[in-house]
C-alpha cells in the first residue's frame, strides 16, 4: 500500500515536472499551432481535392499524389533543389566562417567591415535579384564589362545552363553570408578567452588553435547553421523566379517554384498542396538523416 502511494506521488511529481517544462514552450506553441500547424493540416485537406479559384471542386483522394509521382517534372525539379544545396551550403558556411574570423580579430575599423559584409542582408530578395540581374547581364552588365576591360571573354551568366546555377549561388552568397558571419561571431564570443591563452602558453600555432579550440567551440552553432542553410536552400524560390525564371528552359526550376506555379499560375491549389506535403516529407527525411549524421559526429 505504501508502495502504491509512493509510486503515485512520484508519477504526479513527474507529471508536474513535465508540465512545468512544457509551460516554457506554450508561448511559442500557441501561435505555432494556430498559424502554422493548422494551415498545414488544411493544406493537407486541400491536397485531397481539385481546388481552384472557386474553392473546393471535388474530392479526388490520393489522385493528386499519384499524378505528381508520375510527372517527370517532379523528379527534375527535386533534383534541381538538391543540386543547389550541394553547391551553395559549403560555399556560404565556409565563407561565413572566413569572414567571421577576419572580423573577429583586432583590426582597425572592424565594426565598419562587419557592417559592410552584413549590408546586403538587409535588402529584400527582389532588390538583390534586380541588382544582380543588371550586373550579370550578358550585354551591358558590369561583370562582363569588367571582364572585357581585362581582355577576358564574358559569359551568358543567366542564360547559359553551365553558368546559371553559379550565378544564383554567388548572388545568394552575397546576400546571406552576412547573417552566417554574424552567428559565427556570436559563437566565437562564447569561446572562453582563457582557452586561447592556455593554448598560447602551450605553444600552439594559429592552425592548431583553430582546429582544437575554435572549431570545436563553434560546433554547436555550426550544426544549427548547416541544418538551417540546407533547409533554406532546399526552399530556394525568389532568386530563381526573379533572375532566371527557372531558366534557361527549366535548368534552374526549383521545387518551390514548381509548387508556386502550380498553385498561383495554374490555379491548381489542390495539386500544389499535395506537392508541398510531398516536399515536406522529403525534407523531413533529409533533416532526420542530417540530425543523425551530426549527432554521430559529436560522439
Amino acid at each position: 500500500m505504501l508502495h502504491d502511494s509512493v509510486a503515485k506521488r512520484r508519477s504526479l511529481k513527474a507529471l508536474a515536472a513535465e508540465l512545468s517544462a512544457i509551460a516554457f514552450l506554450v508561448p511559442f506553441l500557441v501561435p505555432f499551432l494556430v498559424f502554422y500547424v493548422w494551415p498545414v493540416v488544411k493544406g493537407g485537406w486541400m491536397s485531397l481535392h481539385v481546388w481552384g479559384v472557386a474553392g473546393k471542386q471535388r474530392f479526388v483522394g490520393l489522385d493528386n499524389y499519384a499524378k505528381i509521382l508520375r510527372d517527370d517534372n517532379f523528379y527534375a525539379n527535386l533534383w534541381h533543389s538538391f543540386y543547389f544545396v550541394l553547391i551553395f551550403v559549403p560555399l556560404v558556411i565556409v565563407f561565413g566562417l572566413v569572414l567571421a574570423l577576419l572580423v573577429n580579430r583586432k583590426m582597425p575599423m572592424r565594426a565598419l567591415f562587419r557592417s559592410v559584409y552584413f549590408l546586403p542582408y538587409v535588402l529584400s530578395v527582389s532588390i538583390v535579384c534586380f541588382i544582380w540581374m543588371r550586373m550579370l547581364d550578358s550585354g551591358s552588365g558590369l561583370v562582363n564589362s569588367i571582364l572585357a576591360a581585362f581582355g577576358l571573354p564574358g559569359a551568358n551568366w543567366l542564360t547559359d545552363p553551365d553558368w546559371a546555377w553559379w550565378s544564383i549561388a554567388i548572388t545568394t552568397v552575397w546576400w546571406t553570408v552576412g547573417f552566417v558571419m554574424v552567428l559565427f561571431l556570436a559563437g566565437l564570443q562564447e569561446i572562453p578567452v582563457e582557452f586561447y591563452e592556455a593554448a598560447n602558453i602551450d605553444g600552439a600555432n594559429s592552425y592548431q588553435r583553430f582546429r582544437h579550440i575554435t572549431l570545436p567551440g563553434l560546433s554547436g552553432v555550426m550544426r544549427v547553421q548547416i541544418f538551417y542553410q540546407v533547409i533554406a536552400s532546399l526552399k530556394l524560390f525568389g532568386q530563381v523566379h526573379i533572375m532566371t525564371q527557372g531558366g534557361p528552359g527549366d535548368t534552374t526550376n526549383t521545387f518551390v517554384r514548381y509548387i508556386y506555379l502550380t498553385g498561383f499560375k495554374k490555379d491548381l491549389f489542390g495539386l500544389a498542396s499535395a506537392q508541398s506535403l510531398l516536399f515536406c516529407l522529403i525534407m523531413l527525411i533529409i533533416t532526420a538523416a542530417q540530425y543523425r549524421f551530426m549527432n554521430k559526429r559529436e560522439d
Partner: protein, 436 residues
C-alpha cells in the same frame, strides 16, 4: 553591461507595449465598423455623404501615374462618388484578387485582364453588369465592339473593358537609315513580307551594321512573340469549343523553327533578358514591343523611333492582344455596383483620353475617334492594329494552359527539347488540364 542590457530590454518592451495599445486602438475601430463596405452602405442608405468605393489596380510606374490621374479627375468631377484607389503592382496581383473574391473581403471594383476573368465568372464571383450599367446610364454600345464582345459570358457582360493592348513593330529610324533600309516615308523597307523575306531583311541589316542586333525578340516572355506569329499563321490554341488542344501543328512548328533560326543565325540574341531596354538604348533595330512602351520610347530624346503594325510575315494580320477591364465582385451591394459602373462610364468616355497617353488603345469609341487621341504619335497605326487583335480563348482553364505553354516554350528556345517534342508536350499537358 548586463544592467545596460536590461535597461534596453525594458525600454524596448515599454515601447512595444505603447505601440501595441496604439495598434489595438486603431484596429478595434476598424473591426468595430465592420470594414468599409458596411459603413459606406449605411451611408448610402441614409444618403448622408458620397458613396465610397475601393478600387484595386495593378498599374505601376508611369502607367500607374496615369491611372491615378484618372481617379483624381473622376473624384473632382462630381461629388456623389469617391473612388479610393489602391495600387498593387505585382506578379502576385491575381493571387491577391483571387483570395479577395473568394473570401468576400476585397475591393468594390478592380482591374483584371480580360483573359483572367473566365474562372471568376465560372465561380460566380463577379457581378453581371448589365443591370448596374443601365442604372448608371452606361451603354456598352460606347465600347469598341470587339472589346465589348470579349467580356460576354452566357449573353451577359461581366466586365467593362477599358483598353486593348498588343504589340507593334518599333523600328529605329536612324539605324535603318544608316543601313539604307528606310523608305522615303520613313518606314522600314521590308521588301518581301514572308518568313524568308524578313530573314533576308535582317541579314542585310546585320551585314550593314555588324554591331547592332537586327531584331530584338522578347525571350523572357517568349509566348508573346510566339503567339503573335502563330496567330498570323492562322493558328489557334484550342479547338472551337475549347475542349481540345489545337497547337500541335505545322504552323506552330514553322513559327518555332523561324525563331530558332533567327537565334542560331545571331540575327536575334537569345540571351538578352531585357530586349525592350536593348531597343530603347539604340542597340537593336527592330522590336515587337508593347503599345504600353510607346510613351517610353517616343519620349526618349536620343531615340528616333517609329511604330507600325506587325508585318504579316506569316500570312495574316492577326496578332496577340489582351485588354484591361474593370470588374465588380459579386459581394458588392447594388448601390456600390452602380457607383462602380459610373466610374467605368467615366473611364470610357473621359478617362480614356488620359489612358490613351499611356500607350494602350482605349476601348471607348468616342475617345479613339477623337482628334486629341489620333494626334498622338503613330496613333493611326495603333488603331489599325487594334482591329486585328485576337484575344485568348474564353476558357476558365486559360491560366493553366498559358503557363504550361510558357514553360515548354522556354525549354524549346533553350534547346532542351526539340520543337516537335515541345509541341507534343504542350498538347498533352493542355489536354490533361482541359480534361480535369
Amino acid at each position: 553591461m548586463k544592467p545596460g542590457k536590461w535597461l534596453q530590454t525594458t525600454m524596448v518592451l515599454t515601447l512595444a507595449a505603447v505601440m501595441l495599445l496604439a495598434g489595438c486602438g486603431s484596429n478595434s475601430n476598424e473591426e468595430g465598423s465592420g470594414g468599409t463596405t458596411t459603413s459606406a452602405a449605411e451611408t448610402a442608405e441614409t444618403n448622408s455623404g458620397p458613396v465610397e468605393i475601393t478600387y484595386w489596380n495593378l498599374f505601376g510606374g508611369g502607367e500607374g501615374d496615369f491611372a491615378d490621374q484618372i481617379v483624381k479627375n473622376f473624384n473632382d468631377s462630381q461629388s456623389e462618388i469617391v473612388v479610393k484607389a489602391l495600387r498593387l503592382e505585382s506578379n502576385e496581383y491575381y493571387a491577391k484578387l483571387g483570395t479577395a473574391l473568394a473570401s468576400g473581403k476585397g475591393p468594390d471594383v478592380a482591374i483584371a485582364h480580360v483573359d483572367k476573368i473566365a474562372p471568376f465568372v465560372k465561380a460566380n464571383q463577379l457581378a453581371a453588369l448589365d443591370e448596374p450599367a443601365a442604372k448608371a446610364g452606361f451603354d456598352y454600345a460606347d465600347v469598341t465592339d470587339s472589346n465589348a464582345q470579349s467580356v460576354v459570358y452566357d449573353g451577359k457582360h461581366y466586365a467593362v473593358p477599358i483598353d486593348t493592348h498588343f504589340h507593334m513593330l518599333y523600328y529605329n529610324k536612324d539605324l535603318l537609315d544608316k543601313a539604307g533600309l528606310l523608305t522615303a516615308d520613313g518606314l522600314p523597307n521590308l521588301g518581301d513580307v514572308s518568313p524568308e523575306g524578313f530573314k533576308n531583311f535582317l541579314t542585310e541589316l546585320k551585314n550593314k551594321l555588324p554591331d547592332i542586333e537586327p531584331f530584338a525578340v522578347n525571350v523572357p516572355y517568349f509566348h508573346e512573340p510566339f503567339y503573335n506569329l502563330y496567330y498570323e499563321a492562322g493558328g489557334d490554341l484550342l479547338n472551337a469549343d475549347n475542349t481540345q488542344a489545337a497547337i500541335n501543328n505545322d504552323k506552330a512548328l514553322q513559327v518555332l523553327n523561324f525563331y530558332l533560326d533567327l537565334f542560331d543565325s545571331k540575327l536575334s540574341d537569345v540571351n538578352d533578358k531585357t530586349p525592350w531596354q536593348t531597343f530603347h538604348d539604340g542597340k537593336a533595330a527592330l522590336w515587337f514591343g508593347g503599345v504600353w512602351e510607346a510613351g517610353w520610347h517616343f519620349g526618349e530624346q536620343n531615340l528616333n523611333v517609329g511604330a507600325m503594325p506587325l508585318p504579316p510575315i506569316f500570312g495574316s494580320e492577326q496578332h496577340w492582344g489582351s485588354s484591361h477591364t474593370l470588374v465588380v465582385p459579386a459581394y458588392v451591394d447594388p448601390a456600390k455596383q452602380e457607383a462602380a459602373l459610373k466610374f467605368a462610364k467615366y473611364y470610357i468616355l473621359e478617362g480614356g483620353k488620359i489612358w490613351g497617353q499611356a500607350g494602350h488603345v482605349p476601348a471607348g469609341k468616342a475617345v479613339v475617334s477623337s482628334d486629341e487621341y489620333k494626334n498622338l504619335p503613330y496613333r493611326k497605326y495603333f488603331i489599325e492594329a487594334q482591329k486585328t487583335v485576337k484575344f485568348a480563348p474564353k476558357t476558365d482553364k486559360y491560366n493553366a494552359i498559358d503557363t504550361s505553354i510558357q514553360e515548354v516554350l522556354q525549354n524549346i528556345v533553350f534547346k532542351k527539347v526539340t520543337p516537335q517534342e515541345g509541341l507534343g508536350i504542350m498538347e498533352k499537358e493542355i489536354n490533361d488540364i482541359l480534361a480535369n
